[in-house]
Amino acid sequence: MSKQPYRLASGGLVDRTRTLDFSFGRRKLSGHPGDTLASALLANGVHLVARSFKYHRPRGIFGAGAEDPAGLVEIAEDRTRSDPNTRATEQELFNGLNARPQNCWPTLSLDFGAVNDLLAPFIPAGFYYKTFKGWPGWMTFEPAIRRAAGLGRASSEPDPDNYESVNRHCDVLVVGGGPAGLMATLAAARVGARVILAEETAELGGTLLARDPNLLTIDRKSPVAWVAGVREELEALPEATILTRTTAFGYYSHNLIGLWERVTDHISPEARPERLPRQRLYRVRAKEVVLASGSLERPLVFHENDRPGIMLASAVRTYMHRYGVLPGKRIVVATNNDSGWDAALDMARAGGEVAAVVDLRTEMAQEHLAEAAKRGIAIYGNATVVGTTGRLRLSSIAVCPQAGGRPVEVECDLLAVAGGWVPNVALFAQSRGKLRYDQQLEAFRPGRSWQHERSAGAANGFFGMAECFAEGARAGAEAARAAGFEPRPLAIPTVPASGQIGQGPIRIIPELPSRRPKHKVRAFIDLQDDVTTKDLSLAVKEGYRSVELAKRYTTAGMGTDQGKVANMNAFAFLASARGESIPAIGTTTFRQPYKPVTFAALAGQHVGDLLAPRRTTPMHEWHRGQNAIFEPVGDWLRARAYPRPGESFHEAVQRESKAARVSVGVLDASTLGKIDVRGPDSRELLNRVYTNAWSRLAPGRARYGLMLGEDGMVMDDGVTACLADDHFHMTTTTGGAARVLSKLEDYLQTEWPALKVYLTSVTEEWAVVSLCGPECHKLVGELCDGLDSNPEKFEFMSFRDAEVSGVPVRVFRISFTGELSYEINIKSTYGLWLWERTMELGKKYGITPYGTEAMHLLRAEKGFVIVGQETDGTVTPIDLGYAGMVKKQGDFIGRRSLFRADTAREDRRQLVGLLTGEPAIVLMEGSQVIGTEAESQPPVTMLGHVTSSYFSPNLGRSIALALVSRGRSRIGERLWVSRRDGAPIPVTVAGTDFLAAGSAANA
């Protein structure tokens, strides 16, 4: 166990009776329950935790919470659980925690990447844009640059943990559990409103926990006791929910707020309860919102202001009072407002040796001066810090009067900077509220609300403790009233007079004066992205004057901290560089998320098999039993092929395709979309949505139809059967079923409400066993009782009702292969039974199950199209050669478009067959068809592209379908198909029905 030399003897919420061991890199350290990784590191005197993004400069812990810009580490629990870019200030300590520094090699203290720092003069803002132009270009250098500049590495293993997403509704959502947030929650919850309080850290209290409990009492209680009392009261209210470790990360339209809860991240992995998810994502729809998200302290901008050991004064106070850690032995405070003095005196009282206070102002509060003098603190008024020393940890600073003169070297290991307070308006701005620039605060604060929210306390620009309580009570009551409750007056807690003090007068200097020449000043604005004042000046000089452009050009505020503490200083510096006021230059856009949210939490349960609903047919288990290869088709999982042991996928497809034409093949066609169309106007509807005519289709007969969009392009196809004069059974493509149903519903509801037609999706009602092959009618006859399956009696494009062992079936004689084929439809609960029975009875015919790949191949042999493969939303029925299916009389969806000048063009791409000169060569689908033997210099005139391509086992050669400009007039012509490596492949344009052509040739 280490000694924790910087741990105070008392104070804070940490449990000193218990010790937690953890490691940081190779160092074994210890802390206490209640610590964050940052507070435990600081207790052990570790400031240096990271290297910066660009120059690899040493980075320390700068803040105490989500605002910390650069203290990023990797939490490595095991190989699968490693969380890069975790803020040390936010990771709660647990026993055995293993943190590693990142973005450094070989070690954190000796990082070779730091050579970038020496090269800094040559890597100005926009360096990459300026340097990697033209040949060989960015792409060549990117991998190396990405390696050098970058943060942690994520695990490439699947995430082993569970995550949860939750929808919640509430009357009032309160963001922030500090003084204002707690009062707002009380005000709303006491009158019965359903309230959710979201607090980002592990404990309620906010700033109250970062104050000396000997000085701040609330209703004569210590802050911790007061907060505990509030918590107890809220927990007893049935409609109040307290969520700690929960960040409100996004404010969206209509008062939708995203909350991200870290449920078990603070527990060591072995102790995490199995039943709990690791993190939760809440989508909260709140009637009213109170934003009590507090304020952020601004850093000061001076030369070498980025060393480990330089921290925000507010963070130092948090470490002292919340965690019982004083992160330095000899301390200097640099400030431009009263809160810096409060912090300095706090540190002195806690036993720190405060060497000096440097105040940018000339006027300082008398009481502060007196108290400081009493404690022997050196006071430098109207002065500034002009430089710092210490390679990996601050060792001294140089203080100089602003007017100039000899700098004084002050030795110190901690410099607390207090640059004034900025209301945390991120969520307010995300909600589309308008910001207002406050001249007194020299910062933006909430101006005009857009949604149902109000800001309270420090988030609203009120920094005194008593003000925060009153503000919270006001906002909570207001929210409750707006949500329909009658608020009651709430007693405002009393705090001692010292609690009234906010920041007092403030003096903002965008860049502190320096004795160095301008180009040698390295005053950092953004500690994570290494953006200095010099970079921003350069951006302005080069014309990137807009705040949005300067941000992108320099990357200021673009790190994982989104510039929480950097942005206000960047705006102020830009305004001064442009010689304009801050409100005139505006702000960058506050976007969701407020801070990085894990993808796992966003994905929630929607991972792996639960990513999307997966539909399977009643016969699925049988397919699995045969070790079928599956493919997703729409939402469905379909068997693609059934390779036998030792057989490749290709061999299986060839065998299956052959069997379907010589013996009996069987396909599970259950996934086909099926819509029950019923009502007196059903026929009329079909007439209006299909390109062909339906008026004469008699009951018992079926017809193939093409459906277009209003643009005249083929949208879907399928066979529809007439069950009765007012009753049809429509089938669609597997993937198009939902789209077709929605489209028909749309037209029925909006364009043709007078039509009496009712549509019902019956896709899942029916399982379909599709039999194919010259012998298959015999098998159908054996399977079905009371059915004469003789193809001469049972006409093509008709159907019959029959029974299989007493179970009713509907048998269609239709074909998608060009072969004799029957489709047996049965109630899906009998699907597997019928399939197994078919397999049993079919043995003697050598029945062979075939998958979707063989189905695709078989139909291509016949030249049948697949919507979505031969068509891509730019193909008309005429392009496909289906002009005969377009009726001459009567309107239908898309008809008029077929006569538009463009759709009637003669050089449109038309569907044709392509035969390679060398029968063994199978063209690649998607290849371009060109008209010359050699591929000329680009641009090459492209005549079309290959849509389907297979090796046909039945024809013993390769076949391909293609869309080719003026294709039908090119039959017999020689064209070429371009390929990636090698000369274009010569092909002959042919008709689409390879099977017919093949048998004609053999005859």
Binding site: H254, K434, R436, Y437
Partner: protein
């Protein structure tokens, strides 16, 4: 992330719905005699106003009924919903200063993010 009040089911999250584009575009019944340009305008051309826009929405994960919505595209306020066949109601919408309140230089809506000096309004 809107909340939309389906006229048949009540208020639901946007994830229940799909948008079907601009409303009140009737399918021509005389397409046979229409000029190409007129037909193309029916098929392809839609308005894209800043301000009140009549849209078709379908409660796909609910009652599957189509209805119309008047939405202010500048503010995303849903002004009213009404059933198919009902005449478009006349509603007033609060439009932010036009043309769009952008700052004279730079990108983005800088002017819309920060209040101009003297511009009224409070945080509540």
């Amino acid at each position: 992330m809107f909340l939309i009040r389906c006229p048949y089911c009540g208020e639901r999250d946007i994830s229940d719905f799909v948008c079907g584009g601009e409303a009140h575009i009737a399918r021509p019944t005389d397409s046979e005699t229409m000029e190409d340009a007129d037909w193309a305008s029916y098929v392809f051309v839609r308005t894209n106003p800043k301000g009140v826009h009549a849209e078709r929405w379908n409660h796909l994960a609910g009652c599957r009924r189509w209805f119309n919505v008047l939405r202010n595209t500048a503010t995303d306020d849903i002004l009213t919903v009404y059933r198919i066949g009902v005449v478009r109601p006349d509603v007033k919408a609060n439009l932010p200063p036009t043309p769009s309140g952008e700052a004279s230089i730079g990108s983005g809506n800088d002017g819309a993010k920060v209040m101009a000096p003297g511009e009224g309004g409070s945080s509540a």
